[in-house]
């Protein structure tokens, strides 16, 4: 899996490259916005880590250019400028996640993992259960045509449930699938994700089967 790192600080760039390399990714790096933009437009990456304060072309402009060119790879913004308006703007421009400097490398790797898998898990690009759609090529989820914003983990939970639509999925199974490579998790967090998803896609789509787990259904068929 190929990851692009655009960061102007040499030390941090080397640290990121070696940490990502150790985690099994193939890493390309760029030390300015212009080169970063060019690489992102010409090479197929599974994820890009983009610093906001870059020489030549700033990070937000690079992101804007990529999205305009139709590049849909997940972009993780690395920001030391902790202005909220900039973060929100990055999000509006199509960034998938952001990490504020200084950060813990483990945390960054977890996010990279979560975001990378979002697009490479499945060959079939479109999943549909009733009017609930998930496009794994672009990472877009929509209900009845209206897009829904999901975080990487929320997306993973929904993705798994949709792949096993109509079947009961146990909490343990979900926890194992979602957190496969991460630290041990409290299974309570799955409950929280289910709550968030219900709120975002509609409460009647995910049924709790007492003592067994969850089942994703098409509410139109279960009238």
């Amino acid at each position: 899996m190929r990851v692009l790192v655009v960061e102007d600080d040499k030390n941090l760039r080397d640290q990121l490259a070696s940490a990502l390399g150790d985690a099994g990714y193939t890493v390309d790096t760029a030390d300015n916005g212009e080169d970063g933009q060019f690489l992102g437009e010409t090479e197929p990456y599974d994820l890009a880590i983009l610093d906001l304060g870059l020489p030549k072309v700033d990070g937000l402009s690079v992101l804007k250019a990529w999205r305009k060119e139709g590049r849909t790879m997940p972009v993780l913004i690395l920001s030391a400028r902790d202005r909220w308006s900039e973060k929100v703007e990055g999000l509006d421009l199509g960034a998938n996640d952001y990490v504020t400097k200084p950060f813990h490398m483990a945390e960054l790797l977890a996010r990279v993992r979560a975001n990378v898998r979002r697009q490479t898990d499945h060959r079939s690009s479109m999943l549909e259960v009733g009017d609930l759609q998930l496009n794994s090529a672009t990472g877009q989820v929509s209900v009845n045509g209206v897009p829904v914003k999901l975080t990487a983990y929320q997306y993973k939970v929904l993705d798994y449930l949709m792949h096993h639509a109509g079947r009961i999925v146990s909490r343990a199974e979900l926890t194992e699938k979602i957190y496969a490579q991460d630290h041990e998790r409290d299974s309570n967090t799955i409950e929280v994700f289910i709550g968030i998803l219900r709120r975002k896609i509609g409460t009647d789509r995910i049924i709790t089967e007492k003592g067994l787990g969850y089942r994703l259904i098409d509410p139109a068929e279960h009238k």
Partner: protein, 485 residues
């Protein structure tokens, strides 16, 4: 007395300088004075013309009559074959007179015949007039003068120097008529007509200037209202709707507001650059420290942690101070900023979901009855709201409720209520957090970091920050901020 006039003059000049209405009314007043003066001059001129038209023909006729009837008398003096028929020339001091005098060699006038109305008196001439008329080379043409009559009345006088057949020397024929007698019947009517006309014009000028003040100055009142709207944040900037004379003022004001925003923006960007410059090496240090093992690594990690906390705090402080440093003053954020709240809260909440995604998922519910507009800057709104929501996520177990409320009782306010299901604060800590200027830094390191800076921003908007116990079990923060329509 002079001092008093000077004082009044100065006060008047001051009034004109301070009031456009006074300025316009002064011009109107001057116009009216000019109009009245013009009316008086016109009236006078009118009377003169009337004299010429009504009286001069009579004077000529009477003179011609006298000339035609003049003949040598028995004693070598002038006599009249026939006196003019008009009886008014016989009534004493009637205002109509004639007189024939012989001009002596030395220019002395010897009156030889006078109308009975003169009652024995002479038609007196000023010395200047007399010498002009009796000069050897005096004209023989008719001349007209205005003199004073025997009854002290004004007199229109016609003089003619003529020789009489069979008599030696030159004779001066004078005929005079009191114009009042001629003009009297029409004078009252004409005077009234003039007075009415002038009064009518004056009233029209006064009315026009009153309308000028009311209608002509209307755009100024509009501009004032719109500037107030910009200040309140109801308008983003002044529109392009003013008269050509005022549009430059509106544009200058827009430029000023923009400049103000840019100065603040520049100061903020500077802090942003500083943050970038400081935090990137800290990130490097932190990662390097985490890689190392052993006793030194622990010390390094701790130092980096302390550095990070310190830099974080100083940068946030600098960001808040950026505005003040920009010279914009405490009122700056309330000028011309409008920020829709709901969309920004949605974005912010999604970012919080992302932030806590890998650590511990938090279900952040946003409840609102509709959007409101914050009378202030987006950066500040995001700063304040993120502070509260971040804390709620940090201390809550898994559930946070963010509520956007517009209290019916206070339409100029809105409230962002943030509740969590965490352990919350003790009553004593809540009381302490509510105290102005309080810092909970010592009490709860994470929570305390932002509180005093948050408070500064809230104060900047004359807002309010209240803490209560939440029904969810944790802390309930109520952020009250100014709203606009």
């Amino acid at each position: 007395m002079i001092d008093r006039i000077a004082g009044v003059g100065a006060r008047f000049r001051d009034l004109v300088r301070r009031s456009l209405a006074a300025r316009l009314l002064t011009i109107a007043l001057a116009s009216i004075v000019g109009l009245v003066a013009g009316g008086v001059i016109a009236y006078d001129q009118f009377n003169r013309q009337m004299l010429r038209l009504l009286i001069d023909p009579e004077l000529s006729a009477v003179t011609d009559n006298l000339l035609g009837n003049a003949m040598p008398g028995l004693a070598g003096e002038v006599a009249l074959r026939d006196v003019p028929y008009d009886p008014r020339y016989t009534q004493p001091l009637s205002g109509r007179y004639y007189q024939i005098a012989r001009i002596g060699d030395d220019g002395v006038l010897a009156v030889q015949f006078r109308s009975p109305s003169l009652f024995g008196a002479d038609l007196a001439l000023s010395e200047e007039l007399r010498s002009q008329l009796t000069a050897p080379d005096a004209t023989l043409a008719a001349q007209f003068f205005n003199v004073t009559g025997p009854d002290a009345e004004p007199l229109r006088l016609m003089a003619r120097v003529q020789e009489i057949p069979n008599l030696e020397g030159r004779y001066l024929f004078l005929v005079g008529v009191d114009p009042r007698a001629v003009l009297a019947p029409a004078a009252a009517l004409v005077g009234l007509a003039f007075a009415l006309f002038v009064a009518f014009c004056a009233i029209m000028v006064a009315a026009a200037s009153a309308l000028q003040v009311r209608i002509g100055l209307e755009p100024l009142r509009d501009l004032r209202r719109d500037i107030a709207s910009v200040r309140r944040g109801d308008l983003e900037k002044l529109a392009d709707v003013y008269p050509a004379e005022l549009q430059p003022v509106a544009e200058e004001l827009n430029a000023l507001v923009n400049h103000n925003r840019e100065v603040v923006e520049r100061a903020r960007r500077h802090v942003g650059n500083l943050a970038h410059a400081l935090k990137t090496p800290i990130a490097v240090l932190k990662n390097a420290a985490n890689h190392e093992t052993g006793g030194d690594a622990a010390i390094l990690r701790q130092s980096v942690e302390e550095m990070e906390t310190f830099v974080e705090r100083q940068l946030r402080r600098a960001r808040v101070a950026a505005r003040a440093e920009a010279g914009a003053g405490a009122q700056a954020p309330t000028i011309a900023y409008r920020t829709p709240v709901l969309r920004n809260l949605e974005d912010l909440i999604f970012m919080m979901e992302q932030k806590y995604d890998t650590q511990k998922p938090v279900d952040i519910v946003l409840e609102s009855e509709g959007d409101v507009t914050f009378r202030g800057e987006r950066e500040d709104l995001l700063e304040m709201a993120s502070n509260l929501i971040d804390n709620a996520c940090k201390y809550g177990r898994s559930s946070v409720i963010v509520r956007l409320v517009r209290p019916a009782a206070e339409p100029a306010l809105f409230e962002i209520v943030v509740e969590d299901d965490g352990p919350g604060l003790s009553d004593a800590d809540i009381a302490r957090a509510m105290t102005r200027g309080a810092r909970l830094d010592e009490a709860a390191p994470g929570q305390g970091l932002g509180l005093s800076i948050l408070r500064e921003t809230v104060d900047l908007y004359a807002g309010d920050l209240l803490f209560e116990r939440s029904v969810l079990g944790g802390l309930k923060a109520r952020l009250r901020l100014p709203a606009t329509d």
